[in-house]
Each structure stands twice: as structure tokens, then as C-alpha cells.
Symmetry: C2
Subunit: 261 residues, 2 copies
């Protein structure tokens, strides 16, 4: 299916006509992770994100009870406009659904969080190869021994994603992503994985392995799995997220993320 | 009085031995604006800051009821460790005091917000002259016709500070401050003041005028007065801030602000 605009993708999701992953759809536009929590958990979660901006770059927070976005995709409805959702109760996955209208609560607050798809698009535009895209696999992600700064009920390790690169590309990628704080910013580490508590690069905690070829070093970015993992570990009575890879396609162009959007 | 460290400044404030402005004290360390609000106003305020990161760069948010900082000045007590405070009730200034211990409430949340002193130190270090520092005056600040993104009860215009510069310095200053998002980041405007609703540069809304010499252009940065003005306009029952210029001296070096502190 070809889409003319992010609004077209969202409309297709709303009508149940697009229920698949969003990778590559409207590729010049940013996509966003979604986390929905009840209002009495929302302040602590926003404090957690504020204290950990690299893994948790918040693009927009909804008004409590209001499912409509105002900034990154005006009038988008977070109950319907993503292709697929996961519902967690007390920290346990209980359902995967295409629409959360029937689950919506008056005290729900939605958090839209930046996604690495945006910086990968900028890396590719700069002719920096991205291994897992070349291989058609999911990016490898690892829990580290680096603790996030806790806030209220939320705490946990930073999760990172890894992309193997030649030194020159690692340098260029650092410069490019340092200008994109809204999508995780500059790397948090490069080189020896054991220095951040990763024992075996071939065994990621999430996603698929990506081979590191001779002459390359692994480069690690803070990953948007971090806030979701921290939130679930705190066992909120209900939490709703996008299903992995089934993101919100926003009206924000990737090249707009360099500024104060 | 000479201070060996930021902790010494804070101890002198705590003992009532330093009650003056903090400009120039421990100049290589960042100073921070303070706003304290009751918990039921805190989530909206943090959302306002999140939505407007250039005027409102949050460095730390305290746990509700806990006056001790953990990140930017560990164990600092926000009730005592600034030289002077202002107390507002229902949006009106009612008192200026040296200590707020007797006013502390179990539901108070403190917000520490980045301050332009830090980026001015970096500009001076790069041999970029800063007019109001040369003149020994306060930086000129202006209300603009640029609206902040509202959040809950908080809304208002962006307030900007202005520094006149030669074009080459404006370019260098843009590069330097773009790397310092924790202290307002890159300029929000340069050149014609009328384009952001400023009628007369000689009549700032806050601070003192700063002359723009031939061959210079005015360069405008988002200003930390913005969140305070927005908060007061919403008339919270109580709000406590630092007195102008009487900031918290943190343990964060200015050159650390480039990273994810």
C-alpha cells in the first residue's frame, strides 16, 4: 500500500486497513513510540523521562483524558491512529489490539517518544551504512549495567541499541545524531561492550544480532525500550503501548528534529 | 568573599552569610533558576517545560515534599541554599526572604531550570564579547509575540534575552549555544526585532537596555523568565522562586552541560 502522507497512514490505521509495522512508511517523517498511563502515574513518568532524556526523548504529552495530539500530528487520535497496541495490566502483557477506544479512561495521559528510525534515515542520507537495515533484521538491543536516574516509582537499567561502524562512520554518526536530541541524540558508548555490562554482542536482549566486521567498532545509542521497560517494572495497574514496530507516523519531518519543534 | 567551591557558596547561603546576587561566584559552575509549586500544579508545569524546552530547560525536578537535590548539587537543600527567595500567593509577590524553611509544604515540588550565565561563560571563553557584561548591566529581556505551547493551566509569550553581536560572532555564538540545550540552546531569532513583536530595543520589559553598535545585529535567546511569568499568570495559590540574580550555584561545570548530565 502506498501512502501520500502521514495523515493517510493514520487514517488507514483508524479504519483498520493498515495493521502492519510502520518501518519505511512515509520515510521522511518521524515516527513515535507511544506509552499511555493513568494520570496518577504520569508525573513520575514525565520526571523519569526528564531525568533520562537520551533514552526517553519526549516529543509530546497529551492533556489528561484527551486522546488528540496537538503538536507532532495535530488531530491524530492515539486511540485509533496506530496500527497495533499492547495492553499491560500490573506489568503483564494481557492483550494485543488494533484499537483502544473501548479501553480509554478519562485519566489517561499519552506520551509520544522519539524513535531511532529518524536518525537512521539521517545516517543513510549521509551514506553511512546501517547494518541491520542492510540485513533486513531488527536492530540489536541490550540491557546495560548503566542505571537510569530514578524518579518516583520508576527506575531501571538503560537499554541501548547497537550499530557496527567503521571509525570514520562512527565519528560522522556521532556528529549527525548529536544534533538530534529528540531521537536519542549522540551515542552513549562506543567500543568495548563489557564497559557497559554487555557480555555477548551476539546475544541481544531484544531484536536480532548484527555482525561486527573486522575494522568496525560497535556504536551504542540509548534506546526507547528503556522507558517502557522501566514503566512495566513498576507494575502500573494499566499501561498501553504501541506494539513493537507499529508506531505513530507523525507530521514532523526528520530534518525538523534538529530544531525546537 | 571568596568561595572555594559551589558547596561553600551554598553553605554560606544556608548560614545567612551570603545574601547577595550570585553572578560571577564559582564562575565555571552552572547556576540554576528555582521555581517551587505545590504537587497538584507540578505535572502541568513540567508538561509546559517539556513542550517549551528552549525557554524552560529543566535540569532537575525534586521528589514531592523532598527539599534535597540529587543530581545537579547532591544534598543541596532548596529551602536554604539560595541567597534570597521570592514568595508569590495567587500570582502576587508577597514577600522576599532569605530562607523558606518555615514555608515548606509536604507537597512542594522544586524545579531547577538552566540559566544563561552558563552559555555566557562559554561565549566569553571563545572571545565573543557580551555587551551587558562589558557594561556591568543586566541583560535586556523582552516579551515577544511568539506564544509558548500551552500545557494545562500554563500559557504565555516567550520571553527572550538580547545580546548585540557582529555577524561572525553571532554565527560562532549560534554554534556554541546549539551544543548547550540545557541552558536555552541556540538563539530563537536574530536581526529585525519587529519580526518577533519587539517594538523598541531600547525599552526592554525586564533588565537594562544594551546598545547595538553599527555593524552589529541583535541576537535573541529564549529566556528563563518565560516559565516564571507563565506560572505566575496562572495564579497558583503559592509559588516560590529565587530572587532575581540570586541563583542556586550547582556542582555542574558549564562544560558538562554539553552532555546528558
Amino acid at each position: 500500500m502506498m501512502f501520500q502522507s502521514p495523515a493517510d497512514v493514520r487514517a488507514a490505521c483508524r479504519r483498520g486497513q493498515w495493521t502492519n509495522v510502520t518501518a519505511g512508511l512515509c520515510g521522511s517523517f518521524a515516527q513515535a513510540n507511544l506509552a499511555i498511563l493513568p494520570a496518577d502515574w504520569a508525573f513520575d513518568f514525565l520526571r523519569f523521562c526528564q531525568a533520562n532524556p537520551k533514552p526517553c526523548p519526549v516529543l509530546e504529552v497529551t492533556d489528561p483524558g484527551d486522546p488528540l495530539l496537538k503538536r507532532i500530528a495535530p488531530q491524530a487520535d492515539i486511540r485509533t491512529d496506530l496500527p497495533r497496541y499492547r495492553v499491560y495490566r500490573d506489568g503483564q502483557l494481557v492483550d494485543e489490539v488494533l484499537d483502544i477506544t473501548s479501553l480509554w479512561q478519562d485519566d489517561f495521559v499519552g506520551f509520544l517518544i522519539g524513535c531511532s528510525f529518524s536518525f537512521e534515515a539521517e545516517l543513510l542520507a549521509a551514506n553511512i551504512p546501517v547494518r541491520h537495515i542492510e540485513l533486513g533484521t531488527n536492530v540489536p538491543m541490550y540491557r546495560t549495567n548503566v542505571s537510569c536516574h530514578p524518579a518516583g516509582r520508576f527506575r531501571g537499567p538503560m537499554v541501548v541499541s547497537m550499530r557496527p561502524m567503521k571509525a570514520q562512520h562512527a565519528i560522522e554518526a556521532t556528529i549527525i545524531t548529536s544534533r538530534l536530541p529528540a531521537v536519542h541524540g549522540a551515542p552513549v558508548h562506543l567500543g568495548d561492550p563489557s564497559l557497559i555490562g554487555i557480555k555477548d554482542l551476539d546475544k541481544p536482549d531484544y531484536g536480532d544480532p548484527a555482525p561486527v566486521y573486522p575494522g568496525e567498532i560497535p556504536v551504542f545509542w540509548a534506546c526507547g525500550v528503556t522507558p517502557q521497560a522501566a514503566a512495566l517494572a513498576s507494575k502500573p495497574p494499566i499501561m498501553i503501548t504501541h506494539a513493537p514496530g507499529h508506531m505513530l507516523v507523525t507530521d514532523l519531518r526528520n530534518d525538523e528534529l534538529v530544531r525546537d519543534w
